[in-house]
C-alpha cells in the first residue's frame, strides 16, 4: 500500500502529462479542423451563392432586355422557398451608367438593403448578418444590370456550434480513451519500478542486503535494477566489514573496560595513599610552621635575654658590691670599730652603687617593656598605631646580637609617619628578611650592604628591602615563596621563612610582595600594604 503511494505521484504526473498532451493536441486538431471547416463552409457558401447568382443572372437577361420586370419579380419571388436568402434585387443600368431598381425580393423580417455601392460586392463579402454578393448581368458582353443578393449567415453559426459540439464530444471520448490507455500502459511501464521499490523497501525494513532486484524487464529499469544490485552488493560487503570491525571494537572495548577497571582500582588505592601522604604532609607543615614560629620566638627570647643581661648584670655587680660594703659596715659596727671615715666612705660608695643599680634596672625595665611590646605584637594580630622609624629601630635592636657577629652595613631610610598597622607582622617580616640575608646572602667574612627603605605612598606603606649578596637562580627565585623550599636543608633550613613572609604580607597585612634577584646581584623585595583606617 505504502509502496503504491510512493509511485502514486509519479503515476499521477505521467497521467497528467499524457492527458495534457492529448488535450492540447486534440484541441489543436479540433480547432484547426473547425477553422478549416468553417473556411470551407464559407467558401462553399460563397461559391454556391455565386453559382446561384450566375444562373439567375443568365435567366434574368431576357427579362432585362425585354423590359419584363413582372417576370423578373416572379423569378425573384422563387426565393421565398429558400429561407437563406434575405434579399435579392435586380438593377438595370442605362446608357448613362446610372442604376435603377428593376425587381426585388425581400424576406419579411429583413430590412431593405441600401442600394449604394452595389458594385463593391462583386466579390462576395461577409457582413455581420449576411453574405453579400453583387453579380453583373451581362448580355453579349454588355453590362445590362446587377443582381444583388444578401444571404443569411445564421446557418454558419449553427454549423460552428455543431462543429464545436462534435469536437468537444470527440475530445472527451478521446481523453477518456487516452486516460484508459495511459492507466493501462502505466501499469505495464511501472511494474518493474514497483518491483524495484518493493525490493528497496524489503532491504530497508529487513536490513537484508542479500536480496536482489529482477533484471529481466529488458528496458531502462533493468539497467537501473542492475546498478541497484551492484550497489547492494557493495553495501553488503561494506556492511559485513563494518560488522566485523564492530565486533572487534566491542572485544577491545571489553578488554579496555577491564583494564580501566583495574587501573581505576590502582589509582583509587594510590590516590588514598596520596591523600594520606598529603594529610601527613599538611600535619608536618603545620608542625614546621609552628616550629618556625617557635624559632623566631626563640630568637626573640635570646635577644631579650642578651639585651636585658647587661643592665641586670651591672645591677647584680653593683648590688653584690653594696652587699659586701654592707657586711664590712655591719662587722665594724658590731666590733665597735666603725669610724666616721669608714662610714663616710660607705655612704659615698653605697650611694654610687645605688645610682648604678637604679640606672641599670631602669634600663632593664625599659628593654623588657619594649620587648614585651614586640612579643605581644608577634603573637597577636593586634592593629595599633605604629611610628614607623621608631618601630624599625626597635626591631633592629632585638636583632643586634645577630648583627654584631657579622660585619654587614645596614642602610636605613624610614619615614617618620605613624600609621595604623599590624606591627607584629612587620616585626616578623623584617626579622626574617634580615636573618635570610645574613644566613643565605653572604658567606662568612664578607661584609655586605643591607638596605631597608620604608615610605608612605597613597595610603600604602612601601617597604623596599634589598641585599647585595649572592642572589638566586631563576629556578630558585620562582620557588622562593614555596613552603619548605630551602637550599640549606640539614643545616637548620626549614624553607618556611619566606613562606611566612608571604603569608603575613598577603593575609595579615592585606598587601603584596614581589621578589627580584639575579645570581651574584643580590635579592630585593618590594612589599606594600594598605594603612588600616580607624
Amino acid at each position: 500500500m505504502n509502496a503504491f503511494f510512493s509511485i502514486g505521484t509519479f503515476n499521477r504526473k505521467l497521467l497528467i502529462m499524457v492527458m495534457a498532451t492529448s488535450l492540447l493536441s486534440l484541441t489543436l486538431v479540433a480547432t484547426a479542423l473547425t477553422i478549416i471547416n468553417i473556411k470551407n463552409y464559407k467558401t462553399n457558401m460563397q461559391t454556391s451563392l455565386q453559382e446561384k447568382a450566375r444562373l439567375l443572372s443568365y435567366n434574368l437577361v431576357p427579362m432585362l432586355v425585354f423590359d419584363d420586370n413582372s417576370s423578373a419579380s416572379e423569378a425573384m419571388s422563387a426565393f421565398s422557398t429558400n429561407p437563406n436568402i434575405l434579399s435579392a434585387q435586380v438593377f438595370q443600368t442605362d446608357s448613362q451608367g446610372s442604376i435603377s431598381l428593376f425587381a426585388e425580393y425581400q424576406r419579411r423580417d429583413y430590412p431593405s438593403p441600401s442600394t449604394k455601392d452595389i458594385s463593391s460586392y462583386l466579390n462576395p463579402q461577409f457582413s455581420e448578418r449576411a453574405l453579400i454578393l453583387s453579380q453583373i448581368i451581362s448580355f453579349e458582353g454588355e453590362k445590362i444590370g446587377y443582381l444583388h443578393i444578401h444571404r443569411e449567415l445564421s446557418e454558419l453559426d449553427e454549423f460552428l456550434q455543431q462543429s464545436i459540439a462534435i469536437s468537444t464530444i470527440v475530445l472527451i471520448f478521446s481523453l477518456i480513451i487516452a486516460m484508459m490507455m495511459s492507466v493501462r500502459f502505466q501499469f505495464i511501464l511501472l511494474k518493474p519500478l514497483q518491483y524495484l521499490i518493493d525490493v528497496t523497501q524489503k532491504v530497508r525494513d529487513e536490513k537484508n542486503y542479500d536480496v536482489r532486484a529482477r533484471t529481466d524487464s529488458n528496458d531502462e529499469f533493468a539497467v537501473l535494477a542492475e546498478s541497484f544490485n551492484h550497489m547492494l552488493q557493495e553495501i553488503a560487503e561494506h556492511h559485513h566489514k563494518q560488522l566485523a570491525v564492530e565486533s572487534e571494537v566491542r572485544q577491545l572495548n571489553l578488554v579496555l573496560e577491564d583494564k580501566v577497571h583495574a587501573r581505576t582500582l590502582e589509582l583509587e588505592k594510590s590516590n588514598g595513599e596520596l591523600v594520606k601522604a598529603l594529610d601527613s604532609l599538611q600535619d608536618s607543615q603545620k608542625q614546621l610552621v609552628e616550629k618556625e614560629t617557635m624559632a623566631s620566638l626563640g630568637q626573640l627570647v635570646a635577644g631579650i635575654a642578651h639585651e636585658v643581661n647587661t643592665p641586670v648584670g651591672i645591677g647584680v655587680t653593683a648590688i653584690s658590691h653594696l652587699a659586701e660594703l654592707h657586711k664590712k659596715l655591719e662587722k665594724a659596727y658590731l666590733e665597735k670599730t666603725l669610724s666616721a671615715k669608714d662610714m663616710k666612705q660607705y655612704l659615698q660608695t653605697s650611694s654610687e652603687a645605688i645610682d648604678v643599680m637604679d640606672k641599670s634596672l631602669h634600663k632593664a625595665a625599659e628593654l623588657v617593656s619594649s620587648f614585651k611590646q614586640v612579643a605581644v605584637d608577634q603573637s597577636s594580630d593586634n592593629i595599633r598605631p605604629v611610628k614607623l622609624d621608631d618601630y624599625l629601630q626597635e626591631i633592629l635592636t632585638t636583632l643586634k646580637p645577630k648583627l654584631k657577629r657579622v660585619s654587614h652595613q645596614l642602610k636605613i631610610d624610614c619615614c617618620p609617619d605613624t600609621v595604623n598597622c599590624n606591627a607584629g607582622a612587620i616585626y616578623q617580616i623584617i626579622t626574617n628578611l634580615i636573618m635570610n640575608s645574613i644566613l643565605h646572602g653572604f658567606d662568612t667574612n664578607v661584609s655586605g650592604i643591607i638596605s631597608i627603605k620604608i615610605y608612605l605612598m597613597q595610603d600604602h606603606v612601601h617597604i623596599d628591602y634589598s641585599d647585595n649578596g649572592k642572589g638566586l637562580s631563576p629556578d630558585n627565585l620562582a620557588s622562593l615563596f614555596e613552603p619548605f623550599f630551602t637550599t640549606k636543608r640539614g643545616e637548620g633550613g626549614t624553607g618556611l621563612g619566606t613562606h611566612i613572609i608571604y603569608n603575613l604580607v598577603t593575609q595579615a597585612l592585606n598587601g603584596d610582595i614581589a621578589a627580584k634577584s639575579k645570581i651574584g646581584q643580590g635579592l630585593s623585595y618590594q612589599i606594600h600594604f594598605p594603612v588600616v583606617n580607624q
Binding site: P62, F66, D67, S71, D94, S95, E140, E142
Partner: protein
C-alpha cells in the same frame, strides 16, 4: 461591340419613349403611337434573334447574313428602322433586312428570311401549306394571339404600356428552331 451597345441603348430609348407617348399622347395621335410601336417591335425582333438558334441548313454558308424580314404595310419609318438594323450583327452574323407586302413572295423568291415578322393579317392570308413551309426553318413572330393560334411561334402583343412576349410552345417544338429557355421562360404560353 459598340453596335451591340447602341442596340440596347436604342431599345431602352424606345421603351422610355413609347412609355412616355402612351401615357401622354394616346388620345392625341394614333399615328405617332404606331410609329413608336413599330420602333419597339423592330428592336425586339433584333434582340430575339440573339436568343434564337437556327439549323445549319437555314443558312447557305457560314458567312451568310441573317435575314430579318418584315411582312406588312410599308411605311417610311419602317424603312428607316430596317435600314438601320441592317448595319448590326447578331450572334456573329451580319444582318440583312427585307420588307414584303405578303408572305407568299418569300416562298416564291425562296428568300432565306430566318426571322419573319408578320404584321396584322398577313399570316392569316397564307394557306396552311404555305404556313407550314415557312415555319419549318424560320422563326415566325406575329402581333396577336390569333397568329399564335394559327401556328405562329412568337407574338409581341402590347400589354398595358409594354410589349409582352407570347409563345406557342407546340409550334416552337415542331419547328427546327431552338429558342433559349430563358426567353421562353418569360414568354406567356398560348395554346393552339
Amino acid at each position: 461591340m459598340m453596335q451591340m451597345f447602341k442596340g440596347i441603348n436604342l431599345t431602352h430609348k424606345l421603351i422610355s419613349l413609347s412609355w412616355y407617348l402612351l401615357c401622354l399622347c394616346w388620345p392625341l395621335s394614333a399615328a405617332a403611337q404606331n410609329t413608336d410601336a413599330t420602333k419597339l417591335t423592330v428592336a425586339y425582333l433584333y434582340q430575339m434573334s440573339k436568343f434564337t438558334k437556327w439549323q445549319q441548313e437555314a443558312f447557305s454558308d457560314d458567312n451568310a447574313k441573317l435575314e430579318i424580314c418584315y411582312v406588312g404595310q410599308q411605311t417610311p419609318t419602317l424603312e428607316a428602322l430596317l435600314n438601320k438594323l441592317a448595319s448590326r450583327k447578331s450572334n456573329g452574323r451580319e444582318i440583312a433586312t427585307h420588307h414584303f407586302a405578303d408572305g407568299q413572295i418569300i416562298l416564291k423568291q425562296k428568300q432565306a428570311c430566318q426571322l419573319i415578322y408578320f404584321s396584322e393579317q398577313t399570316w392569316l392570308e397564307l394557306s396552311y401549306e404555305q404556313q407550314a413551309a415557312i415555319t419549318k426553318q424560320r422563326l415566325t413572330i406575329g402581333d396577336s394571339k390569333a397568329f399564335l393560334k394559327q401556328g405562329g411561334m412568337l407574338a409581341l402583343i402590347p400589354v398595358k404600356s409594354k410589349l409582352a412576349i407570347f409563345v406557342n410552345p407546340k409550334a416552337v417544338e415542331q419547328s427546327q428552331i431552338q429558342l433559349e429557355a430563358r426567353l421562353l421562360a418569360l414568354a406567356k404560353k398560348v395554346t393552339q
